[in-house]
């Protein structure tokens, strides 16, 4: 990673990302005001921030700050950096299993879910916020303006680059942002939250995305084999009750941490006091905070003041639960399966490198996610979507 980071840092600097040991520059603006401009060693941090799917920015505004992300090219490279390692790991998986098609199948499932996420976020941002049209603004895209919901977005990125970045950063566990997540239209912000809530299995964090998706693969194999009455096997290893229990534990632990945490947030005065918004958006702020914490994502509906004692403790605990209650069962599944004898594939084996399996895997991820989170999401983003179109404000 070090050589790649050096090269990326220098490309970033060539585009305008600052890299200096100085702290501030003071400018006397054209209109005669003094403007204190913070600078620093940004480019070297920027490269590793995204390649390592960490997402902690140098400036408060993160990758929307012109010194972190000055041009559409740096923005494109940042999205690429977020996805490069997690996507590459699916090919490593193919190599390790001795069958590239296994890796390609996992990659294809991730790509389908990612494309769907970008499409959802893009279409709702492009459609814009009807309340802004009522207020007298023109959101129609034309040759001279990007249009759509531009609140909390930068002109140089527009709708396309902002939603692509938003999808990538929540699908993977990066959490860097180039637009305000909180100011997204309701279903677009809901899509970002769903990306994290699904367990960040769509490419996901470096390593954590792959093992998360493999847990869903184990579930998918089990469900498929139940339907047709075959013995469930994945990669030549039989899947027994023990693996199934562990896989379900991993999936449920993440969901429970998010939902129980949010439930505590919405019934305690300390949890409610930190909201910026009333109405369903306020619920989404709290849900997003716990979802992002459990998923170790780090992006935020930043209207919520998470710097209170309640959220610092609650989200901190959720971060640990979200990581360890998932990783321990995953290691246990791996250990249990590694100890098993390899069964040679027979006519009764369900092939896990076929388009049929890719479809099943996508279906299982969506069904598990939808069943778990639909009630909460219905009261947050979905309700807000309909109220937005009804012109109800809070």
């Amino acid at each position: 990673m070090l050589p790649i980071c050096v090269v990326l840092s220098l490309v970033y600097v060539s585009q305008g990302v600052v890299q200096t040991l100085a702290g501030t520059v003071t400018a006397g603006t054209i209109q005669g005001a003094a403007q204190t401009i913070h600078v620093g060693p940004v480019a070297s941090q920027e490269a590793v921030k995204l390649l390592g799917t960490n997402g902690g920015g140098f400036f408060n505004a993160n990758s929307s700050h012109p010194f972190e992300n000055p041009t559409p090219l740096t923005d494109f490279l940042q999205v690429l950096s977020i996805l490069a390692i997690p996507a590459g790991l699916t090919f490593m998986f193919g190599k390790m299993t001795g069958n590239m098609r296994q890796g390609v199948a996992v990659f294809a499932a991730m790509l389908i879910l990612f494309t769907a996420s970008v499409a959802v976020m893009y279409s709702f941002e492009r459609a814009g916020n009807p309340n802004l049209t009522t207020a007298g603004a023109n959101q129609v895209a034309s040759a001279t303006q990007t249009g759509g919901n531009t609140e909390g977005k930068e002109v140089r990125f527009g709708i396309e680059a902002s939603t692509l970045f938003g999808s990538a950063t929540t699908a993977a566990s990066a959490g860097a942002v180039n637009a305000s997540m909180s100011s997204l239209t309701p279903l677009s912000g809901g899509m970002a939250m769903l990306n994290i809530a699904l367990g960040e299995v769509v490419f996901g964090g470096a390593g954590s995305g792959l093992y998360g998706m493999l847990v869903f693969a184990v579930l998918a194999v089990f469900i498929a084999c139940l339907m047709v009455g075959r013995t469930p096997e994945y990669l030549g290893k039989k899947i027994g009750p023990k693996e199934m229990k562990l896989a379900m534990f991993a999936v449920l632990a993440v969901a429970a941490s998010i939902l129980v945490g949010s439930a505590i947030g919405v019934v305690t005065p300390a949890g409610l006091a930190a909201r910026l918004s009333a109405g369903p958006h306020g619920l989404t702020e709290i849900l997003y905070a716990f979802t992002s914490g459990v998923g170790n994502n780090g992006s935020a509906f930043a209207g919520l003041n998470a710097a209170t004692r309640f959220y610092a403790v609650a989200i901190g605990v959720c971060m640990m639960l979200g990581r360890y209650l998932f990783i321990i069962p995953v290691l246990a599944i791996a250990g249990s399966m590694a100890a098993k004898k390899r069964v040679p594939p027979s006519a009764g084996t369900f092939p896990t490198d076929s388009p049929l399996f890719v479809g099943l895997l996508v279906g299982v991820v969506l069904i598990v996610g939808a069943l778990t989170f639909f009630p909460a999401f219905a009261l947050g983003p979905v309700l807000e979507h309909f109220l937005m179109h009804a012109g109800q404000l809070f």
Binding site: I37, N138, V155, R156, S277, L393, F394
Partner: protein, 189 residues
Amino acid sequence: MRRYVFASIRMALVTLFVLGIVYPLVVTGIAQLAFPAQANGSLVRSSDGAVIGSSLIGQSFTDVKYFHGRPSAGDYDAAASGASNLGPTSKALVDSVVSRVASAVAENPGLKTGAVPVDMVTSSASGLDPDITVANAYAQVARVAKARSLDESVVRALVAAHITDRQFGVLGEPRVNVLALNLALDAAK
């Protein structure tokens, strides 16, 4: 056991030194040699060498004879940065858009309610957006031309000359850098 502990401590110290100190310093060194202007903040200086600002950081323009940047949640404070984070059903957001539309229409001759470019009345993600859309710039031409007693076609041509197109023809959005445009205006007259 002890061997592993010491080996991992050594490894931690070495990586701390290489990645935490050597890496940023090497990048800083190369950056300062190869791209000194960008590495120090793409600063814009006046003819006497004083720093006017950075071409990447928006600054507050309120005078009618200048093109205005987008509303900023942090009032163009470049020691901070950030968005309004107001949600789409926020009354505070819609109220401020209504009042921004009203002042934009009052200020700019020929601009009508309903036709105000959306980026003109919504705040940016960083609060420091250096750019406005092409539509936003053209909507301000009449006002700026009148304030400077210039012909509208002259100002319009100046805007057209300052459009930054999509990078490589595909990436990002066409835009106008407000500081560069205003400096060119001052130079023109």
